[in-house]
Symmetry: D2
Subunit: 242 residues, 4 copies
């Protein structure tokens, strides 16, 4: 295998507590996503909230090129230490793909610096239009993806994205910037809107295609750690020309 | 008056050749827009395609802080000389507000460097959502503007905007980036989607509000002309420290 | 007065503890900056670290359109409550102008989401080149500003700026992105590099010009609070066309 | 070979007319660059101004994933037809790496929409600082590249870059944004500053590294042609909810 090493993190509560969700995702949301990534030839491990250190130990994160994050009801249970560790790893180059309700995760909010708030409503229809044709994250898609989904509506209180890949149309009359690229430190971040737990979105081949594309896009480029702090001059500081 | 001096340029053909359009805009599209700008306290003049030099003489453009442009069926009739003059003036700082079908105008295309192509269809409903609340161009608006309008659909082949202010929802199922900010040279450019000639869009108070806001936003900041070409050094170029 | 209401916040320690700094800024760094802003017709108040709530009470921040921030050695003494309050106010629209060593302030780091680290060295010469001529923050400047200053060198670990206004040249051989614009929530943020306490930078007329320009640029546009949370549909969600 | 198919285009005049240039680049600038790209495993062909259709026939461009462009004194000799063909190919996805004095090439100017003007002076020293560590175009570099080079100084009249990779320091006191990324249509564009014909810049391993990185970065993602023009609705356009 030569792609990035991906860790799929999932809150993994509703699949166990809610019968309907469990029926859609018998192996958890992380299970469905992992299968898709493996099918695309990527090296994948999973981690969940209720494991020690939420499964994101120093060792795991050091061996993670790209972290996928799905969380919903228990964002506040993520420990400070794990939060800081994952945040530091993103700045060092680890990619992050934040999925759906992860817009409110501690990690995504810390990286964005904003409230990450939005509108929402259950039981809508979504059509994600590709607005950046030719972008690697949209590779293999046709013009749009259609889903039965929860609605998220603008304004989305995030920093203006550096690249905007998808814009969603909703049957109820709203729009949403649904595929957003950011760079923070040496790390790349992609936010991807769909993925409500009550619908089989992560079984959709186009959604899986986007997630696989995003995992490859977010993979770090090997690079030396930047030099910070007090440094010696490279030139002698002299008088300017008169 | 202390706002920018605005020139509203209009192709002004369909208002005279098409009865329905003429009924909606008896004073021309430029007339409706000018009235709104004047009502907001701005200094306004108009210019149209069939005037000598399309009304955009050296004198007029030199006295123009912000140029508004509406054109549709006769883009190719705009003379090279006028095109080059207006282009140069934008790079020197003149603001440009490109309206609706001006996406295909020679001036906008020359400034963008792309095809500026898009999807379209008559007789739709549009809801322009504000995605940049707090931006001066959205001042005074509520969450969205609703219009009976022509549909424009993504992908819109323009450079990624530096600021995205509006995203449109259409009843027929499409979305569109409808309010786009650019800087080119010292000039500011705003593209604003609505304004099909067969609907009374420019009589809508919210649309008028956006156009007035955009005219003020696009006004130039007084600044010295940049220095280009061969220049003397400010420092003596010496050996670097070993 | 009709400009924004500005609050100049200063750590205000070194002016009192270090004789040399006190000689350069007998009224504090905030005093020098306030005088410049007042001279430009702005309404100004000051606040400092050792006041109760650091001088940034709910009342003060509610009456502040733009907050200027200078801090250096005591970033960690800023209380959580004041940090959260100021952060919330920026998202609501309050402008922020972060000066020099405020790159490491809690407020700026929280808004950026990155380490905000950089290289540095005392006793250098800086030439800030205007790379966005025509931008309101550069109004009234010539091609560059020259200063005796501390060096800050790249890489600067901040999100890619939405607008880059200045790039600095240093005698010792480094460069730095020295004037950076961001939008976060409805608030505008400008980072401006110069301003080491041991040199009279804030007495320099060009530096004062930039700070006055930035205060006006960062002023909020009156706007309604965005609507977030669960919302009713505007359209009935129906089957798509076959 | 599995990387992009690269075509290196060179004006190829000064290597033949100027003895000093010919000594530095006996196989032409295109020869030096081609050798580096081939050494990195890329599939390379060359094309030059004085060939029929400047070597950029329909067939050649259709088989080109990434076009590198070096031109200097004969920009105006590039034929309209070849210009339009190459421009269209970029919008369709072909990458473009514009080198040094190609800032004034017809193709780059047409894509940028601005004057692309700048300051210049011979015989300086340049230090290109990496300001986007972790970006694929900077892979394998240390903190900076040092060169004996012609100076290019700000302001550089190009659209604000979507990604800024390098900023140059010059011994004579100037700075320059030296590595700029753009997307136009489905194509990616990288402008890279160094490469004056009178110095052996393209023999420098770090410069070669950047050019190889840029060729890979600019390679197109396979994607269907966007759909433009009049289209049928996907939803029936009905009355909104009351």
């Amino acid at each position: 295998m030569n792609g990035p090493r991906v860790t799929v993190w999932n809150e993994y509560r509703q699949e166990r507590s809610d019968e309907e969700v469990g029926r859609i995702y018998p192996d958890g949301i992380h299970g469905a996503i992992s299968a898709a990534l493996k099918g695309d030839g990527l090296e994948v491990r999973v981690a969940t909230l209720d494991e020690p250190e939420h499964g994101l130990t120093e060792e795991v994160l050091d061996a993670t090129d790209v972290l996928l994050w799905w969380g919903h009801l228990a964002h506040d249970e993520v420990a400070d230490e794990v939060l800081e560790r994952a945040h530091r790893r993103v700045l060092e180059g680890m990619g992050l793909v934040a999925l759906h309700s992860a817009h409110f995760s501690r990690l995504f909010k810390k990286l964005m610096g904003t409230s990450c708030d939005l509108k929402w409503r259950h039981d809508d229809r979504e059509r994600l239009w590709v607005v950046a044709p030719g972008h690697p994250i949209a590779a293999g898609l046709s013009e749009y993806i259609e889903l039965e989904e929860e609605m998220y509506g603008e304004p989305f209180d995030v920093p203006p994205p550096e690249e905007l890949i998808f814009v969603s149309w909703f049957g109820g009359g709203e729009v949403f910037r649904s595929g957003l690229c950011y760079r923070r430190g040496r790390g790349r971040i992609f936010y991807f809107r769909p993925g409500h737990e009550s619908v089989p979105t992560y079984h959709n081949p186009d959604v899986q295609r986007v997630i696989c594309n995003a995992a490859r896009w977010a993979a770090p480029t090997p690079s030396a750690a930047p030099v910070y702090g007090e440094t010696d001059p490279l030139e002698s500081v002299r008088e300017r020309l008169p």
